[in-house]
């Protein structure tokens, strides 16, 4: 008896792969919500479909995954967030986009819809709406000597737009409230009806820094739906790209976090290594960020004849200078003073939100999609998943440092084992609608992709960025810290705006 499916009764939907999807009645939906609320399952995502809502759950013990579907032709469903807060923003987004009503959800404020689209519920009935800013009351904060600091959407640095509303007592942050949705581009609606080729390009632009992770997640979901077996060489080349992406982003983050403590030598040195990684990617795959290099069915480019040597040169460059940077980070007291014990995320919160990536792993949640559930080729490769319990900025830096080291080793193993052969398999036209789901470990955490195919196009595609479950935690960790430490906390999370806003 499986851990999840045994607890939730429903009718299994044929043609959904590789995890089962079951259609349930309302009482079973509520039971599934209770599993998440009680900590017996982790909410992986929640999304809408024509006349139905889907909830993806993970059993952390057995790594079993299950998608639970509630059909709700009247446009109402029992709120998950009313019992399990991590679903809060997702449900507000579902209400904005589809006009579906989460019954029991107290927070009636819009999330992605700021009032400027000229259409209400663009993916629902799509009624015309007046173009006017929607009022957005921030949560009340009461007390003496409080002041507010509004920041954004246009920030001081070269970063994505979003609004932060700080309430502070002197230097100490009492509450942070985020307001996102500024870069909402309507990716869900652009996906529907798109050809596989166009949809893959869209998926690769959900969050530019994770373009490889998104492209792999999308491709794996399509391949699961269409039961396509991709060539072994493509599997390995995908992993090579994914690890180079992880190394480049982690190096950038480590430097940028230190830079936010005004320790610019780390930033300068890490930026050099990051640039080398992007140049190696460019030399090997023709694009510095490797956009559009992963396609449904395989990969678009093979390694050029000098590709292996390019990557090996990158490994040598990083291995020769990264250790002394790590030493510098570890031995600089003034820097440690800023990062250690700053912005602590309690393990309990990380677990409840199912926080992925370095945010989760620095707070005791050892989940890594490459390991569990695991996907090829990682089951044939040797690597550690570093986990720490401190939950502070320092721990999130260390997780990144350790992951860079692990990824260097992974890249080496991939080069050693890289099989010869074809790069791409044909995706067969789906005669009947079919569905697929995949979860891929990006540098920031697990990216989930779900697709329904018909013929050679996408009917519905849902992409869930790891940031959905990390952004709310940033609000929690900043409490009691000083305003000047917010950049450090924020950078140590490095949540995606675009991947969240879609």
């Amino acid at each position: 008896m499986s851990a999840l499916a045994g607890k939730i009764e429903g009718r299994q939907v044929p043609g959904h792969r590789p995890w089962p999807r079951i259609v349930v009645r309302e009482d079973a939906w509520r039971a599934a919500v209770e599993l998440a609320a009680g900590g017996q399952a982790t909410l992986l995502s929640l999304w809408d479909d024509t006349g139905a809502v889907h909830m993806a759950l993970l059993d952390e013990g057995s790594s079993e995954k299950l998608i639970v579907t509630l059909e709700c032709p009247d446009g109402r469903f029992p709120s998950v967030a009313a019992r399990h807060l991590p679903a809060l923003r997702i449900e507000r987004a579902i209400r904005d986009l589809y006009g579906m009503e989460p019954v029991g959800l107290d927070d009636v404020r819009s999330w992605l819809d700021h009032g400027f689209w000229g259409v209400a519920h663009p993916l629902g009935n799509g009624q015309e709406a007046p173009i006017a800013r929607k009022p957005y009351p921030f949560l009340p904060v009461e007390g003496e000597n409080l002041h507010q600091i509004p920041v954004g959407p246009v920030h001081a640095g070269i970063i994505e737009p979003g609004h932060f509303r700080f309430t502070a007592n002197g230097e100490t942050v009492v509450r942070l409230e985020q307001r996102l949705g500024y870069v909402h581009k309507g990716i869900d609606s652009l996906m529907s009806g798109a050809s596989l080729e166009r949809a893959a390009r869209l998926a690769g632009r959900a969050s530019g820094d994770s373009t490889v992770a998104y492209a792999i997640a999308f491709a794996q979901a399509v391949e699961a739906a269409s039961q396509t077996q991709i060539p072994a060489r493509a599997v390995y080349l995908r992993a090579l790209m994914a690890e180079i992406e992880r190394i480049a982003n982690h190096l950038g983050d480590i430097g940028a976090i230190c830079n936010d403590a005004s320790f610019s030598i780390m930033h300068a040195q890490c930026s050099i290594l990051r640039e080398r990684a992007l140049r190696a990617a460019d030399a090997c795959f023709g694009h510095r960020l490797m956009m559009d290099c992963v396609v449904p069915g395989g990969v678009a480019h093979d390694l050029p004849p000098n590709g292996t040597e390019e990557v090996r040169a990158l490994l040598r460059a990083i291995r020769s200078s990264f250790p002394q940077l790590v030493e510098l980070y570890e031995n600089t007291a003034s820097l440690q003073d800023r990062t250690a014990t700053t912005g602590i995320l309690k393990p309990e919160l990380a677990r409840r939100f199912g926080a992925g990536g370095y945010v989760g792993r620095a707070s005791g949640r050892g989940f890594d999609a490459r390991r569990r559930p695991g996907y090829a080729p990682y089951d044939d490769l040797t690597f550690d998943v570093p986990v720490l319990d401190a939950g502070d900025v320092d721990a999130r830096v260390w997780i990144r440092i350790r992951e860079v080291e692990q990824s260097l080793s992974l890249v080496e193993q991939i080069l050693q084992r890289l099989p010869a052969g074809a790069l791409r398999a044909e995706i067969p036209k789906a005669a009947a609608p079919c569905e697929g789901v995949a979860m891929v470990e990006g540098f920031r955490g697990d990216v989930l992709a779900w697709v329904r195919l018909e013929g050679d196009h996408i009917v519905r595609c849902h992409l869930r960025d790891p940031s959905w479950f990390q952004w709310p935690l940033l609000e929690a960790v900043i409490e009691g810290n000083i305003v000047a430490d917010f950049p450090l906390c924020n950078k140590s999370f490095n949540c995606s705006y675009s991947g969240h806003d879609l």
Binding site: L112, H114, F116, W117, G118, V119, P122, R133, P153, V154, A156, G157, I158, I159, E160, P161, G181, Y182, V183, H184, K185, G186, I187, S189, L190, R198, R201, L202, R205, A206, S207, G208, D209, T211, G252, I265, A268, Q269, S271, I272, R274, E275, L278, D282, R288, L289, M291, Q324, L325, L328, T332, S496, Y497, S498
Partner: protein, 175 residues
């Protein structure tokens, strides 16, 4: 730290020679320069970056301009934290409807004379996101654009060429 500093003093710089100004970018800017304003600015521009809806890909490459290989500041170009300090707005992304007002207000907060550089394919016409209900389109739908730098995202070297063309265009017009 001393070890790293000493090594850096001893070895030759990573910074690469400046690229030649992009000819087409030069042509695009040449017709749009205001003589007197360029004379005042000289060869120094402060840039304020505005993400008006991008996927973050362009931001990564704009960031790269400041690394040791490209070293943007040697050209008199630097990124500033406020539009009030800026001569140039560097705008990325298809402009989303939710960012339209913020972009307009940032533009209005930038003192004259000012230039707008639209970065990336999305900033030209909305790119792959063009048909969405949530997207206005290219940057020129919202604020006047002086220069486009194409690419998805443009490589740092292409950004550099475009910016140099902006500088040289302004210097040429000032003579």
């Amino acid at each position: 730290m001393r070890k790293i500093l000493m090594q850096n003093l001893a070895r030759s710089p990573l910074t690469e020679p400046a690229p030649r100004p992009d000819e087409t970018a030069l042509a695009e800017i040449a017709g749009r320069v205001d003589l007197a304003a360029r004379r005042r600015l000289g060869r120094s521009l402060s840039i304020r970056e505005v993400d008006a809806g991008s996927c973050n890909g362009c931001e990564l490459e704009i960031h790269a301009l400041s690394n040791a290989f490209y070293d943007l500041e040697r050209f008199g170009l630097r990124f500033v934290a406020s539009p009030r300090h800026a001569d140039v707005l560097m705008v990325t992304g298809p402009v989303t409807k939710n960012m339209r007002e913020a972009l307009e207000r940032t533009y209005n907060a930038t003192p004259d004379p000012k230039w707008v550089v639209a970065v990336g394919d999305c900033a030209r016409n909305g790119g792959i996101f063009a048909e969405s209900y949530a997207v206005v389109g290219g940057v020129d739908q919202v604020v006047p654009v002086d220069l486009h730098i194409g690419g998805c995202p443009p490589r740092p070297i292409d950004l550099l060429k475009g910016l140099l063309a902006l500088l040289e265009g302004s210097a040429a017009a000032a003579k």
